[in-house]
Symmetry: C2
Subunit: 199 residues, 2 copies
DNA sequence: GGAGTTATTTACCATTCAGTCAAGAACTGA
DNA sequence: TCAGTTCTTGACTGAATGGTAAATAACTCC
């Protein structure tokens, strides 16, 4: 009955997310967003609201993807312990591979805005809670399977590993070299007390 | 021979640093800087160069202070091991105490700018190298004193602890609660293998 | 081929931005 | 007192900012 949209909404959000990811919130102008999305200001406003609304959509998309990736890494089929190790190493590897130092939008967005923007802060915190849950599930499974010491509190160990992973991200963004980053990952793995089934 | 300055240079840098700390680089305008420093634009430009130059000065000041604090915590007189523990707990405590979620300018600045601004990236990396050195010295001392297991590589353990500390900072900025943050610190401490002299 | 509805374009607005400049104020040494 | 020097002030610039609105284009149903 009416003129159809000429763009794919998900793709626009994705383009906007990439731009925010590169330049941050304050560092991204509406013109930047128009350029990367191919939309005019009018369409952008009619479809997504203002810059802040669009950022929240993009940030939310990123957070959901990060959690989904972590869950896929950690909570899939098979033994939990090697999955956990692979996940830790994968984070280190992708941090090292990020030569342009784009880093993680979750880290960048919450560094820039969490102090002043409650919506961003809430979303970031919820994402960390989800990531923590995925890690805790993985650790509890590894304990049941005898690969990790059963006397540890899985929630506390998950919190520690989450902190290590966020630290890897922060150090990588500052330019720490590959050896250093991989060393952090391996040292964290080495210090996790093994269980009865250890090789 | 000439009109004297009406301001204290160090204090201006400190005010500017606080403003950048609150609002980030792109989020801070020259008018903001004039307001918090009390200087007019002309004076600001004549004395410190442009906004970017002033940011670098402020960032540099912050980095030097952070390293000096860490060195004071870690490398002072007395046994190294309890100093190390106190330092880790102090970081957790100050993160929890930061209710306004200002966080760390080193983290905020490098998240915002390290990907696009080589000067900021270099300064951030150098700061992390210094922090790592302070931690490695502390760990090596604790090993010599018999409080930490002598078979660990102090550089790798220092890298891990640095990552944990940066992770604490990142999680704190997103609003993780006190229990969670302190739990990370205590779990990290608990997993550090003790040496022959352990109680 | 309208009528009705939604999307897009484009010109536009007030405001704010980083940065400049000229005029004058404050000080010292002579 | 005044010449010389440095510092401060505040008005100014052109560009860019986020956001709006009116005109127009594209589509479907009747």
């Amino acid at each position: 009955m009416a003129r159809p949209r000429s763009f794919d909404e998900a793709e626009v959000i994705r383009s906007a997310r990439n731009q925010f990811h590169r330049s941050g919130y304050a560092g991204t102008s509406l013109e930047d967003l128009c350029r990367v999305t191919g939309l005019g200001k009018g369409s952008l406003y009619a479809s997504f609201g203002d810059k802040h609304d669009l950022f929240l959509r993009a940030f939310d998309l990123y957070c959901r993807e990060v959690v989904a990736e972590a869950r896929a890494d950690l909570n899939g089929p098979g033994p939990a312990y090697p999955r956990l190790l692979d996940h830790i190493r994968a984070i280190a590897k992708s941090t090292v591979a990020d030569r342009k130092r784009v880093g993680c939008l979750l880290a960048k967005g919450s560094a820039e805005l969490a102090g002043t923007d409650p919506e961003v802060a809430d979303r970031a915190l919820a994402t960390f809670v989800d990531l923590h849950g995925a890690l805790a599930d993985s650790i509890a499974a590894a304990q049941r399977e005898g690969d990790l010491a059963p006397d540890m509190n899985p929630n506390q160990v998950a919190a520690l590993i989450l902190a290590v992973l966020r630290g890897i991200e922060a150090l990588g963004k500052a330019g720490a070299n590959a050896e250093f980053i991989h060393g952090v990952a391996e040292q964290a793995i080495a210090l996790l007390p093994r269980g009865a089934a250890e090789a």
